[in-house]
Symmetry: C2
Subunit: 209 residues, 2 copies
């Protein structure tokens, strides 16, 4: 297998062409507005399962784009997710990216209440007085607590990106989000996801603007 001679600037374009071709070969047709997001998840993971496991609530993408355009910030549950989001591009619309997981007060609150730091960091996010998108790529406990905060009317996110990965309560946490009726969401059903997928969905949205 020879090294393909592709210009550095062309690599991403060529990758998306290959993804598009292979989806067509599989007979998979993605809704047009979701396609850039789903394809970027496949691009990030080389895993075509995302063509099937991503669930978008009605008009989730349109609402998310409007929120970002209006200056929404992003709260994520890992420093790795925060690191992967294009903060410079997001800042052009007025938003920033928060991750409270390493904060001293979050560690203390978690210890005191016997929760995960992820839960404590969701509580802390409730204190932010701005439009928020939640991008949860790691901790199902964060997603479960976010669900409770939404149900209690304590927070009203512009979008919930629910893509924690793993084996304990991950599937359950996502199914909870799928029951929400007034909250826009993008959820990777099943076990798969990750901080990389959370960041990639945020970036796909930002790049659509």
């Amino acid at each position: 297998m020879e090294i393909e001679n592709v210009l550095p600037t062309e690599i991403e374009k060529r990758s998306f062409e290959i993804i598009t071709e292979e989806l067509e070969q599989e007979g998979i047709v993605l809704p047009e507005i979701q396609a850039p997001i789903t394809k970027r998840c496949i691009h990030t993971s080389a895993d075509f399962d995302y063509a099937k496991n991503l669930v978008y609530s009605e008009h989730a993408v349109e609402k998310a784009l409007e929120a970002i355009r209006g200056g929404a910030s992003i709260v994520t549950d890992t420093q790795m997710g925060r690191s992967g989001i294009n903060k410079k591009r997001l800042a052009q619309y007025g938003g920033q990216v928060y991750c409270f997981m390493s904060d001293e007060d979050v560690a203390q609150a978690a210890k005191k209440n016997g929760t995960t730091r992820a839960v404590a960091s969701m509580k802390k996010a409730c204190e932010l007085n701005e439009k928020l998108i939640f991008a949860i790529g790691n901790a199902p406990t964060a997603l479960i607590h976010l669900y409770e905060l939404i149900k209690d009317g304590r927070i009203r996110p512009e979008l919930v990106i629910g893509v924690p990965v793993g084996f304990v309560n991950v599937v359950q946490s996502k199914e909870l989000i799928l029951t929400l009726e007034d909250t826009p969401y993008i959820v990777a059903r099943g076990r798969k996801g990750g901080s990389n997928i959370a960041a990639c969905i945020c970036n796909a949205l930002i790049y659509m603007l």
Copy 2:
């Protein structure tokens, strides 16, 4: 499907138990010294493909552990990978984590030479005068250039973690590393991988010490 009542501190342990059970059900037996690394990759991605696609050169794990114990540093090709590596634990053995991708001189060198920044950042790593582990989770161009630098005798890594993800020259770049005879490697054969997998392999090694 009910939320399982698992203590925060027990979630990772329970996850690894589930992974172990499911590997057994599939009849997959991992070599003992590789198991903590392969299982952590599955834990990070919920993707059991890693049980089959990870290729370890002979004694790669033993050599890597010795290198980290001896103070080796890690060079990675994304800030996200750098962010995911447990730098505090690595520092206990004397190593640190480098990522040169955002450096101004790297951007200039890449522009001047018409390469990717990933290639320029590998060149910069050659100037480091210490034991190095390379953890490449994103850029096949980085891995290809690293291969060339090794073949030219300009660098002699303690370990190459070759897990870029994607569709253009990714498979090829990994096959090149698999031809190396005197360089320890851990490679995810095929298209899959990522910054998360690169970080996770580093952490698995650190946690084995």
